[in-house]
Symmetry: C2
Subunit: 252 residues, 2 copies
């Protein structure tokens, strides 16, 4: 029956997008509550940082995938800022480098982290699904899937305050990734929200944009489900990082 | 150092492939132990069948993807039997139809099952990763990833006996899918094993084949992790099927 419905106004569409965040964004996941409230064991924070690195490392690949699909310079100029943020302009800069400072501080070697050998298969499947979504779906859906950043400034300030208050093994320095993100995320999500409101004109396009944001929320949620199952519940799948083992004892 | 190693013999390669099964095949997963030993609640069996349908439904897509990459008729003739097994030759035949007989018997409408609306996102990510792997990697790796069928006849007989003994709500009829599979799986895995032994000549190719089988084991394992997390542990992700709700109450 979707075809018969009139398009929503931009404000209605935005309200629906924000409602998806209110209901499905991963700040609602029990792993994040555990992380932010100081209930995570050191090993659980390690596992979170190790797995989340793979997500971070694929974000510029995802954004480059979107760049390949943007027909005009003005949009590409905006979008490429995302890649600049993550990769920096010089060796030792950028969001990925800041994430590695966190995994450094948690005792992982950079070779091990960047090899992604120890990540959960479910992390890989979810993250790869995100990149593939941005390659295969419409440009509108690809842009809409980035709109989880509408909700990230709130979770990041919650995380930063909670982790600093509760864990001795993190600091402003090792969590520097997060202090940079809110301003970038705000700029990026402003652009993406305007893009989606301007380009989703039919009801079908609007519904596709909403579904894309739900899909992205599921990608974030699935990563935390897998962390919980493996490292809180203790059911580590074959081949994934095992806390307490030396790197040479980890699966090759 | 892999490059420096001599190739294994075919027997050594086969032994390594079988060892992966002995260590990583999903018959070792706690969800399967629970399923086969009668400890699953009705709703858990429903969730398993609903989610596993998506895997079944994508197998012919995966096999057609492999067909598109096979350069010679003789190999394609063998491989297309897999599609015939799943799709049948007439309406109402084939493995997918037999799987739907199972989901019918568990109270799902066919529309709901085939829409895949209620499956766990982690199921979708894992299954889609499998299809993508068979599209993007070498043909050798795609064929090697099918070798979990070397191990499936054993798990299937265990499952059939266990489920018939323990659950009143299943029968030989509703589990007909499984009685057909062992003979097909044996034929298919004989072909694929010979193919891999013949085409993986360098040590690098052999290692790639082994890694492909590990990847496939992880795909199966991740599906059971997600089922456990959602329906045994009770942490159902947003949008997935909720036991006990009517279909109209499920997320759209």
């Amino acid at each position: 029956m979707t075809e018969a419905l009139a398009p929503m106004t931009g404000e209605e569409l935005e309200a629906k997008l924000r409602q998806i965040g209110a209901e499905r964004y991963h700040n609602l996941h029990r792993f994040h509550r555990r992380l932010h409230s100081g209930q995570c064991a050191y090993e659980e924070v390690q596992a979170w940082a190790l797995n989340r690195y793979y997500y971070q490392s694929m974000i510029p690949i995802k954004d480059a995938t979107i760049l390949t699909r943007m027909p005009n310079s003005a949009d590409r100029r905006e979008w490429r800022k995302r890649i600049e943020d993550h990769d920096g302009s010089h060796e030792g800069e950028g969001g990925i480098e800041r994430w590695l400072a966190l995994t450094d501080s948690l005792g992982f070697s950079r070779d091990y982290v960047t090899s992604a050998k120890g990540i959960l298969p479910a992390t890989r499947f979810a993250v790869d699904a995100y990149v593939e979504f941005c390659r295969a779906r419409s440009l509108l859906e690809a842009v809409a899937s980035s709109l989880t950043e509408l909700f990230s400034p709130a979770i990041i300030s919650e995380r930063l305050a909670g982790m600093l208050a509760h864990y001795k093994f993190v600091s402003q320095d090792t969590l520097a990734y997060f202090s940079k993100r809110p301003v970038q995320a705000k700029r990026d999500s402003d652009f993406a929200l305007n893009y989606v409101k301007a380009h989703a004109r039919t009801r079908q396009e609007q519904d596709a944009a909403l579904a894309a944001l739900e899909y992205k929320c599921a990608i974030l949620w699935a990563q935390l489900d897998a962390l919980w199952s493996a490292y809180v519940d203790g059911a580590i799948p074959p081949g994934a990082w095992v806390p307490g083992k030396t790197l040479s004892e980890q699966a090759a």
